[in-house]
């Protein structure tokens, strides 16, 4: 049996985000919003993506704080609507979604499990890289590292387009940022 002795490196702001959920006074609302997925990648939730930052009950109003992925990401308004719809459906009539820019969203907030979901969906995950240093990219279909970049930008701003030289699969790569 191999023991995984790696210490997961977690950015401070992501640790704080996870603590907010653990210590939340409204854990059931976090669970409820686990059902709200990224409109472009319906296998990972806003929580897993790192967009969902805080949920608070302020008097009669549920206040949800989200952080945008990319500045101009058109999916952000859809995410807002989906959050409101999910809370309305659960009987919470007064809902407000607030946007917070800081700390700036990072793909390093995604858990390994979420990254594996991306891979299974056909998207090469960002790994632990940053905009300066990319992590190793593997073909989500066959695992090969023999790839070529077709475009720095893919179907959305958060992805680049690659093709696998081993199995010929063209695929999106979720860029580390």
């Amino acid at each position: 049996m191999t023991v995984d002795n790696r210490i997961p490196a977690l950015p401070a702001e992501e640790y704080a985000r996870r603590q907010r959920r653990v210590e939340s006074a409204v854990p059931e609302l976090w669970d409820l919003l686990d059902e709200v997925k990224d409109p472009e990648i319906p296998v990972i939730s806003l929580w897993e993506l790192g967009v969902l930052q805080e949920i608070e009950q302020r008097d009669e109003t549920v206040v949800v704080t989200i952080t945008p992925t990319y500045s101009g990401c058109p999916a952000m308004s859809v995410m807002e609507e989906d959050v409101v719809a999910a809370l309305h459906a659960a009987g919470h009539d007064q809902v407000r979604v607030e946007t917070r820019l800081s700390p700036a969203w990072s793909t390093t907030w995604m858990t390994d499990a979420a990254q594996e979901k991306l891979r299974a969906w056909g998207i090469a995950p960002p790994g632990c890289g940053s905009a300066d240093v990319a992590a190793v990219i593997r073909c989500p279909r066959c695992g090969s590292e023999d790839l070529r970049k077709l475009s720095e930008f893919g179907s959305t701003a958060c992805k680049a387009l690659y093709q696998c030289n081993s199995c010929a699969e063209p695929f999106d790569y979720f860029k580390p940022i």
Binding site: Y70, S71, L101, S102, A104, S151, E152, F153
Partner: protein, 255 residues
């Protein structure tokens, strides 16, 4: 500065940065479905989205500072040419692909350094916007620099077009590094970026890229300025007639 003066100064500064982003974002968006090939079409429009998103963040902040009911749309759609305060480089017509990429490269080198400096702003909101912009600009620069090398060191045709583009753009770059009274006072207050201080590093980076791309450094004996004071090229008015068409045809329209 009094609190009110300082509020108004930050508002104007945010609008300037919003104008830079909106005008360039619109120019890039004009490539939508006109890109040289599909992947490049996607890239140009994704960069356009980043810039338009950047404009929205700056305008939203300006709208909040105004406290008079103005919205981000008021800044984007309800002002005419002379009220726009973008640096002229951003508004020049998109030209051919070489021109678009050369302009993008010159802007990306500038924008990345600028936003990295804005991270240190005493104004938390501006610093927050910069933190998002820095990450995006790194990807923009990687791509535009790559195109400089491919076009410059490509065919005779691509080389010629890129050299022409760089020559035509060069006289618009000094304005990037000039501060007026408003920005000077905001630099002193720790809010704005001292863009003049960015010039040596920018020139060194651009010089190195041009050399690698086998493009000659222009020896321009001309330069144009005026954007921050609302003095624009002819092309901005034409652009606004397109960008603002819906609001001009249906005043007060909301989606």
């Amino acid at each position: 500065m009094t609190a009110t003066d300082s509020n108004e100064a930050v508002l104007q500064y945010a609008v300037r940065l919003g104008d830079d982003a909106l005008v360039l974002g619109h120019r890039l968006s004009e490539w939508c479905s006109n890109g040289p090939f599909l992947e490049e079409d996607l890239a140009l429009t994704n960069v356009a989205l980043d810039y338009i998103g950047r404009a929205r963040m700056f305008y939203s902040y300006a709208a909040e500072l105004s406290g008079d009911g103005r919205s981000e749309d008021s800044f984007a759609y309800l002002r005419d040419c002379r009220e726009f305060t973008n640096l002229l480089l951003h508004e020049l017509p998109r030209g051919d692909f070489a021109f678009t990429m050369a302009r993008q490269y010159l802007v990306d080198e500038y924008a990345l350094a600028f936003m990295q400096a804005l991270l240190e702003s005493e104004d938390e909101r501006l610093a927050g916007i910069a933190a998002k912009a820095v990450k995006e600009s790194k990807y923009h620069l990687r791509r535009s620099r790559d195109w400089m090398l491919r076009l410059g060191d490509g065919t005779a045709e691509s080389h010629c077009r890129l050299q022409t583009a760089v020559d035509d753009l060069w006289g618009y770059t000094p304005e990037l590094f000039e501060l007026d009274a408003l920005e000077t006072s905001l630099v002193a207050a720790g809010v704005a970026v001292d863009s003049a201080a960015l010039r040596p590093d920018w020139e060194a980076a651009v010089r190195a890229t041009l050399e690698e791309a086998t493009i000659e450094l222009p020896q321009a004996d001309w330069s144009v300025r005026g954007g921050r004071q609302g003095i624009h090229t002819e092309s901005l008015g034409h652009m606004l007639s397109d960008l603002q068409f819906m609001q001009r045809a249906y005043p007060g329209l909301e989606w």
